[in-house]
């Protein structure tokens, strides 16, 4: 089963509880935490890649715990019109979703490889990378 990118929202009441580890222990899922953040109100947000036969059961468990589960609809969009193919984003992108095709020295964006870390959004001198929800 192909990995599934999801966004989890933890209310403040459970932000300090060990929950994710149950996905591994009880549901035998392979997880990859792409991003995790707790805001000043102690609410947590996590972007997670989940892979395994019992993925749906695992997500049902999360919902039972009060965790909001949504598919990752946030994505990075490459505004090719704005891009000058300078390349300043390419060594910063941690997954090589942004890369230079050689020898043409053209910048390409592979949205499949993007983990929405958003480093490029601020690093792009032309502001050609946008977050879309």
């Amino acid at each position: 089963m192909a990995p599934n990118k999801i966004v989890l929202r933890f209310p403040a009441s459970i932000a300090d509880k060990p929950i994710i580890f149950h996905l591994v222990k009880d549901y035998d899922l392979m997880i990859n935490i792409l991003k995790a953040h707790i805001n000043p109100h102690k609410e947590g947000t996590m972007v997670l890649e989940v892979e395994g036969v019992r993925a749906e059961d695992g997500l049902a468990f999360l919902r039972d715990q009060g965790v909001g589960v949504q598919p990752l609809t946030e994505e990075i969009v490459w505004n090719e019109e704005r891009c000058t193919h300078c390349g300043a984003c390419t060594a910063i992108c941690p997954t090589r979703a942004l890369y230079v095709e050689r020898p043409a020295m053209l910048v390409h964006f592979d949205s499949e490889a993007c983990v929405v870390c958003q480093l490029c959004v601020r690093a792009c001198p032309m502001r050609a990378m946008e977050v879309r929800f």
Partner: protein, 405 residues
């Protein structure tokens, strides 16, 4: 081979008979045929560069309002322009920032809008908010003014860049423990990446390292229109540093002051640019034709990326503190390959100037020359070259003598 002259080449351009190639093409041609035959065959080689160039700006004459006002303070879209000229003249520098910009108070600052963006908005034909404060004189009684202007409204709008087209530039790295936000982009700690910023074998001044053809009056592609070299750039240091054994000598720091009519230019080739944690600037497209007057000029214009080197500079310590020395030299061929080896570590490389756009500029300029609508400007004076003995001066901080009193 007898030297060609500018006049002879211009006559061929007008007759539609000039042989024009881009610097990329010349590299190939010389590799195949040798310098001598290529020098005979080719009349003009076109170069190009498209990168952030902070020492850029534009001056404007806005025309007079009724009643008249003498510009004391001026803002365009909230970005302060420089006054101190005649009543309705002002200069917008590429790195100017709005008075209310948070700068780096929340480091790294975004610098989403600055002088370079104002210039881009003007050439894109957008309306720009003009705010002026005067102090009132008998001849200029008005004290305040707010309106919108666009490029067509202005008497003159002139791009005037005191330092552009750096001959060569540092390969920037970071040996320190934290991420650095620089005009060379985001540099990751522990040699996490290496950024460079010239177009290498397409870069104008790397192709005429001895300034044999470029000088005052050289006609150029500037921001999509036609511009001119009007002086050497500021910090023009064309001397030749020592390089690794066997590498050909390459000068490090010649620069150009360029000027052109902003009204001819295009937002495609003048782009407001935001360097995270550093500031706003302007990315400028420049293309320079190099007439192949003789074999020597052809030889230098045909040097490939593998023979052109950039110094590797540490932006954690050496650069900000102006400490001499570098971490070695690296060829543009290696930089363009995507990784270099430094300190036994593979370091990913990335450009901050666009080779793709530089190539497009060299092709456009070639087209202009082939169509006979762009003639070479013969310099009325060449610029100082490596033998001029120019040495960089630095700013010494002298005590006022009153520091403790």
């Amino acid at each position: 081979m007898a030297d060609k002259t500018f006049a002879e080449i211009n006559a061929k351009i007008q007759a539609g008979k000039a042989v024009v190639v881009t610097a990329d093409e010349l590299v190939q041609l010389v590799a195949e045929k040798g310098v001598g035959p290529a020098a005979k065959e080719v009349d003009v080689v076109t170069t190009g560069t498209f990168g952030p160039m902070c020492s850029s700006g534009a001056y404007f004459n806005f025309g007079h309002s009724a009643p008249r006002i003498k510009f004391h303070r001026v803002w365009l879209n909230g970005v302060p322009a420089a006054t101190g000229f005649a009543a309705v003249d002002a200069f917008m520098g590429a790195t100017a920032l709005p008075d209310d910009d948070p700068l780096n108070t929340n480091h790294p600052g975004d610098f989403r809008y600055g002088g370079g963006h104002v210039i881009e908005d003007f050439v894109a034909g957008k309306s720009v908010r003009l705010k002026v404060l005067g102090y009132g004189t008998d001849c200029y009684p008005r004290r305040e003014l707010e309106t919108t202007v666009n490029l067509d409204d202005l008497n003159e709008a002139v791009l005037f860049n005191p330092r552009n087209a750096y001959q060569n530039y540092a390969c920037a790295v970071n040996t320190g423990p934290r991420t650095l936000y620089t005009y060379m982009g985001v540099l990751k700690p522990g040699l996490g990446n290496a950024h460079f910023s010239t177009s290498g074998q397409l870069s104008p001044l790397l192709k005429d390292p001895y300034f044999r053809t470029i000088g005052l009056g050289t006609r150029i592609f500037l921001g999509g229109g036609i511009g001119y070299v009007v002086w050497n750039g500021t910090q023009h240091f064309p001397a030749i540093p020592a390089l690794p054994e066997g590498a050909p000598p390459v000068p490090s720091g010649g620069t150009l002051a360029v000027l052109g009519d902003l009204k001819q230019m295009s937002p495609k080739w003048l782009r407001g640019t935001s360097m995270l944690g550093y500031g706003a600037t302007l990315t400028v497209g420049i293309g320079i034709p190099i007439p192949i007057l003789n074999e020597e000029i052809c030889y230098y214009a045909s040097r490939p990326d593998s023979e052109l080197y950039a110094p590797i500079i540490d932006y954690a310590e050496a650069y900000p503190n102006r400490k001499p020395g570098n971490l070695g030299q690296v060829s543009y061929a290696a930089l363009k390959s995507g990784a270099i080896t430094l300190d036994e570590k593979e370091v990913p490389t990335a450009p901050v100037s666009s080779y793709h756009k530089a190539r497009e500029i060299s092709a456009i300029l070639k087209q202009w020359l082939l169509e006979g609508k762009f003639l070479l400007g013969e310099p009325v004076q060449l610029l100082p070259g490596p033998d001029a003995g120019i040495k960089p001066k630095s700013l010494e901080i002298r005590g006022s003598g009153r520091r403790n009193g």
